[in-house]
Symmetry: C2
Subunit: 426 residues, 2 copies
């Protein structure tokens, strides 16, 4: 089912590691039109596209508070406990990354410092579609709360019954998020970017979505609305040596493949036995899975790659820069230290990707499509920005004055030099 | 010269604080064409546009090592000392922000941690044009080096003599940056995004530029190349009460205005005396400045705004979110603590913006156009990304298994649940 590539030449790696082609230019015109319409016509446009694309006529765009608080009565207590446990772990991990910065006196009398502040207004997009992704709400809402954002809104499409799934509402209530708008698609992104009569504008938009959502996020980003990161289909690399367990590896590959037909899964291994055993295990396990048709499609553009050495395998992983990397190898921690491009890494035979997707504590909003070369996953700092400060006293300004005047003059900016001179009467 | 607005109604603030309109849609088609041509035809296209737009025929795109090392013999020793002093201060301030993260055991047997890593390949764009912006090379090159980026390249347009200004070459040599390509404009951005025969591709592009450069950065960003931040014209707000010195305030406004005809400067004050005195001082000081014509244009869309109280003034500053904020007030530090949207803040009567532009130690690559609401200035972390890790042992996986299985099942992802079950034989 998966293509097997044995000992490929180094020169063929680039082609081998291409992601399945995805191109949104076909919908760019349509998305541009939706975004412009929402900017111009606000709620009226929102309702129009929600009816057109989602097939639902929404009366209240804002989910009523009573519906949110009632969600806890609807969902099973086992699910509530699971969400709470996941929320605890995610909070524990994310709250570690708060920083305070020292005042640095770069020269006597020249004090510089930095302050981290929450982005005031943020919007979280939670996809609807085939599943209620309450886990994504945990992954975005918890760092937003920890950062201290004062206005956190959520947009998520309603189902055919015009309702938002109670698990999403329960999760929002658990996190103390009150403003949930039951809209989705490009129109939701435009609403958060520009604001409408009902939906407040935000400064940064987070969250995954389909091609319409992704294209809309790119469009509003050009106009200066910040977004979390560019998006692409989800992916995993399993890096395995002979010590890996083929059953587990197959289950991990299948779990990633069920995200969507455009997901890509790669097995990179130094063991011919693993190549064979994993193929057999996939063939067995796939039959019992609900999403087997989607998985089969995804496996069509997935690969099993056999390499000579672990060093080559590490090099290949770093070149591919996977969103998720599972290292099922002897010396997993030594290997992990050599990984320089990846979103989130799972070490050893008992760390399946699904624990990170839900509950280990790390964030599951991660850079896909090789973006891990330059982007981080979502974290508390994604919801913050820094301001720098400086304060000079007169001796400090005197000490630094020659440097500033000389440089400004060399750059041809004499008013810059003058702002120093005038203060020192030179 | 500057428009004076006395005690505006709160409802008029939004209109009052609009930035001078700037729109790049007129050049979008042309830039798209340049970028596509460079992607397709590499160095040939680069040479074509460099000849067409910059009017220079470049033989070697790469500046020869001998030319870089010779720069120190060309520029005056006073300028060398100034650049060294600035580099020291910038290094001192920026090196404070390196973090190590603890391992967090979110549940017994579930270990999560995070690692900060340099982005391997980064490109720095240094504009040419009216001035050799070696200060910008300091501001981008120092954090890139501190982050530990292994491949740092610089693109900067050559002058009419086909040479890069020696002050830029000297600064590069000082920072240990060897690969400088003498090209500019949209074609330089495309070269760094896709690579050509001569110019290596990078993962993230930094640096300011004209409308062509900005538009090209936006275009390649859509294809997944990271960029530092969106760009707009430079700007300053001076927040002044009656304790401010009108001479200094005028000099600061003028120094910002000399950046370009599209720069915006605002004086927000609670003192009618300051309104009057600053106008008089501007009228006097402007006459002796080399760039007075450009400054006059810039002042046409700049404003002096008189407000009743400092609290209102702080609110207005936060709504405008200036790139630079100079606080010339009694209680400047108390006011600074209430600022939530700004790029860099200058406190007191002896901290002109020009010290931060060159040498105080803070970065001068800052968010313009209100982007300070969501973006930080360039810092060491701008050149890094983080990878998260998790490692579970069998008891850890057992402990977390119910949570993961319950959540995956509720999201309709049974292969995710299965990756846990198969490891525990449940």
């Amino acid at each position: 089912m998966m293509q097997v590539v044995n000992l490929p030449e180094r020169t063929s790696w680039n082609d081998l590691l291409q992601r399945p082609f995805s191109n949104n230019t076909d919908i760019a015109g349509k998305v541009k039109m939706i975004v412009a319409d929402v900017k111009e016509n606000g709620d009226t446009a929102i309702r129009k596209y929600t009816s057109e694309y989602d097939g639902v006529a929404i009366e209240n765009l804002l989910v009523p508070a009573a519906e949110i608080s009632n969600a806890q009565n609807i969902i099973p207590s086992e699910l509530k406990s699971a969400i709470q446990q996941a929320a605890n772990n995610i909070t524990l991990f994310h709250e570690q990354s708060k920083f305070s910065y020292p005042v640095v006196e770069t020269m006597p009398g020249v004090k510089c410092w930095k302050r981290s502040l929450p982005i005031e207004k943020v919007g979280l997009y939670i996809p609807g579609g085939s599943a209620p992704l309450f886990s994504t709400l945990l992954m975005l809402g918890i760092p937003a709360k920890l950062a201290g954002c004062s206005e956190i809104i959520v947009c998520t499409p309603a189902g055919k019954d015009s309702k938002v799934h109670p698990a999403i509402l329960y999760t929002a209530a658990l996190l103390g998020i009150e403003n949930i708008y039951c809209i989705g698609g490009a129109q939701a992104i435009a609403a958060m970017a520009y604001g409408t009569e009902t939906i407040p504008m935000v400064y940064k938009i987070f969250g995954p979505g389909n091609r319409y959502v992704t294209t809309a996020k790119q469009l509003v980003q050009i106009e200066g609305i910040a977004i979390d990161m560019p998006a692409g289909p989800s992916e995993v690399v399993v890096l395995a040596d002979a010590t890996a367990n083929a059953k587990f590896v197959a289950a991990d590959l299948l779990s990633q493949a069920e995200h969507g037909a455009d997901s890509q899964v790669l097995l990179v291994t130094t063991s011919p036995e693993i190549v064979k055993a994993v193929q057999e295990e996939i063939a067995i396990q796939i039959n019992s899975l609900a999403r087997k048709d989607m998985i089969r499609e995804s496996l069509l553009h997935s690969k099993i790659i056999l390499l000579d050495t672990i060093e080559q395998a590490i090099e290949m992983v770093n070149e591919y820069a996977p969103e998720h990397l599972i290292v099922c190898c002897n010396n997993d921690e030594i290997i992990a230290a050599k990984i320089i491009n990846a979103g989130s890494v799972f070490l050893g035979n008992y760390s399946p990707e699904s624990v990170g997707d839900y509950a280990s504590g790390t964030n599951h909003s991660l850079p896909t499509n090789g973006y891990a070369r330059a982007y981080s996953g979502v974290n508390v700092e994604s919801f913050m920005k820094t301001i720098t400060y400086q304060k000079l006293d007169i001796p400090g300004l005197q000490k630094i004055s020659n440097t500033v005047i000389t440089m400004a003059t060399a750059e041809g900016l004499d008013a810059h030099a003058n702002a120093v001179k005038i203060r020192l009467n030179v």
